[in-house]
Each structure stands twice: as structure tokens, then as C-alpha cells.
Symmetry: C2
Subunit: 205 residues, 2 copies
């Protein structure tokens, strides 16, 4: 089981210790959540000493979780950028993105879900830094969808509003697919989001 | 901060020990996740001895988590049934439901999100019983939305497919609202789901 960056072909050995710790924390927290992941496990799986983990992250697990979310944020933003570029029409591109996500989730045996949610959920009340990092990730992903819609001629308000629902629906469908071990929720969300985007275009034109 | 059942006015004192343990576990896991919640905290907050927790749940925390999810499942099914009955038109009813969820989430200071996700997320790989209970909850909620759409004349296939996306989008929007401490994702999801339901109705008729 490898992270998306690893799957993308970057060999783990060329990566510095700090980055290796962040990637490991991100992958573990994505699968096990914040509370299910210990600093010790992170240090072991990153092949780093506990001392070096605390050297890079004096704030401990909470600081590491913020960096893990930022890593997941950048990683998914890259993936989303690529998926959105797959078709000129935003409705088509988003439907294709949902299918790609479904395939990746299945390939990971349903464990590699959203790289932000599992880390953030359940910690928001205790750790406002983690909650803010997660909010920033959602906002960045929305921004990418909004830009795609704007480029296709959608008005600013429509594009911003639709971007919210695209990210919400993909997020929820990913969760539902994970829990039911079934691609259906993501495939249907993709088809319905495409239909919604077309309906909004027809209403405004 | 109280659970939905408590807010509904049922005094905690009339409830038996087993039920009190389940409710407490459900509320704590909803907020802190499975790994963030210990048996000891559950026993303390339920005012039950550790002995009685293990008497009712010999399978320990994992068994308790399954019961906690089933409790959240029933509780949300009840809430959803009421919300769906608020208007005859399913598009209107679902938009109203999204607004109600947004208001409740804000009222809880953004901590009482989905009563199933935080418990299930991060445990699926380790605990198939928990994952199955969560899948059953999602399926039950979808069934309620599907029945509402069928009653309004939607064909079986359309109703079942839409129900998937309604639950996915509400789930994801609840998460996004929680993380951003802002009702906007839920309000927009409600408006867009209403628009989608109307678009599907117009396509099929």
C-alpha cells in the first residue's frame, strides 16, 4: 500500500527525513484517524528516530497532524487539477474525476479515503489548528473547481456555489463508498453533479 | 451539550443502564471518534461501573461502537423521517432538511456532526462489524429518501439513484460545514439537491 506521491513514482529514498515523516503521518492518519495513530508508529514506519520526529515537530502529534493535512491538501489538489484537465467541459471532467476516485478507492481496498477528513474529524473541538488546516484544504479544492467552471463561462456566483456542492458531494460519496465497499455512491455522485452543472448552465443562459 | 434524544425531552433518569451506556458511547464517539473515546470515559459519563459496561458489552469497545452506530442510525432515521414529512414536495423537503441540519450543527458549536462517520472512519480496516453497521445506517437513510421520492411519483431507478446522492451530499456538506464552522456548504447542498431533483423529474416526465 503506497501513498499517491509514491504511486506517482517518486522513490521514497530521495526524500528527506522531515518530508518522510510528514508523508508517513499523512498516510497513517488518513487510514486510522488522528487518535488511532501514535507518534511511535509514525517514527517507526518513517524509519526516523523519535528524537528526529520531535526535532522537526516540537509541537508533537498535533503539529504533525497539521502538516499531514497540508500534505494531503497539496496531494489531492494536484490529483484534482489533473482530473479537471481531462475534459474541457466541467460537467464531463467532474464525472470523470468521480470515476477516477472510485477506482483509486477500490484499488486501495477501500482504505485510502479523503486525506484530510479522518485526521480532522473528532479533533476539531480540541485542536483548532487541525480544523483550520482542514478548512483550508476544502477551500483550496473548491477554488480549483470554481476556476474550472469560470473558465467554461459560468458566472462567479454560480461557479462558487457549485464548487461547494461538488466538493461536498464527492467527499460524502467517497465516505459512503468506503463504508459500503462499493463504487456506486461515487459513480452516481459524478453523474448527478454533471447533470446539476448542466442544469445550472441552462438556467443562467 | 446534549444528544438529540435528550434534546427531544426524554429525561436521562428514566433510561436503563444499558441504554445510557449506548447513548453516552454514541455521543462521545460522534465527537471524538472511536480511537479518541475510551471505555473508562464512557463508563464515567454514563454513571455506570466498568463492570456493568463489560457485563452488557462483553466484546468491549468494538461491540459498544457497533451499538453506538446503530443508536445513531435510529436517531438520525427518526430525525430524517420528520424532516422529510415537512413538505409534500421532496425537493422542498430535502432543502428544508439541509437547513435544519445546518441549524443543529451550529447550535452544537459544530461538534455534533454525523452520528456514524466519526465512529466508523479509521476503523473500517480493523473492524468489519463497525463498517457494516455504518453501511447499514447509510442504506437505511437512503431508503427513507427513496421512499419519499417514490411517493412523489419518481420511477424506482431514479429514486434509488437520487437517494444515494442526497445522502452523500448531505453527509459531505455536514463535514465541510463542521470543518469550516459555517452553514454555507449545507445550505448550498440543500438548494442544489432541490434543483437536481427537479431536473431529474423534468427529464423523466
Amino acid at each position: 500500500m503506497r501513498t499517491r506521491a509514491e504511486r506517482a513514482g517518486e522513490p521514497e529514498t530521495t526524500v528527506g527525513t522531515r518530508e518522510r515523516i510528514v508523508r508517513t503521518a499523512s498516510r497513517l492518519m488518513q487510514r486510522q484517524g488522528y487518535d488511532g495513530t501514535g507518534i511511535k508508529q509514525i517514527s517507526q514506519e518513517a524509519a526516523a528516530t523519535l528524537g528526529s520526529v520531535y526535532h522537526f515537530f516540537p509541537g508533537g502529534k498535533q503539529e504533525l497532524a497539521v502538516e499531514a493535512i497540508r500534505h494531503g491538501d497539496r496531494e489531492f489538489a494536484e490529483l484534482l487539477t489533473g482530473m479537471l484537465a481531462s475534459a474541457e467541459d466541467p460537467a464531463e471532467a467532474i464525472e470523470a474525476a468521480a470515476h477516477t476516485l472510485a477506482g483509486q478507492l477500490r484499488q486501495s481496498d477501500w482504505v485510502d479515503g479523503c486525506p484530510v477528513t479522518a485526521t480532522a474529524l473528532g479533533t476539531a473541538a480540541r485542536a483548532p489548528d487541525i480544523q483550520r488546516a482542514a478548512a483550508e484544504a476544502f477551500a483550496r479544492w473548491r477554488g480549483l473547481v470554481e476556476a474550472k467552471l469560470r473558465a467554461a463561462g459560468f458566472a462567479e456566483g454560480d461557479a462558487g456555489d457549485l464548487a461547494h456542492t461538488v466538493i461536498s458531494a464527492l467527499e460524502g460519496a467517497e465516505l459512503a463508498a468506503q463504508v459500503s465497499r462499493d463504487e456506486t455512491p461515487l459513480r452516481l455522485a459524478g453523474a448527478h453533479l454533471a447533470q446539476l452543472i448542466r442544469a445550472v448552465r441552462n438556467t443562467s443562459s
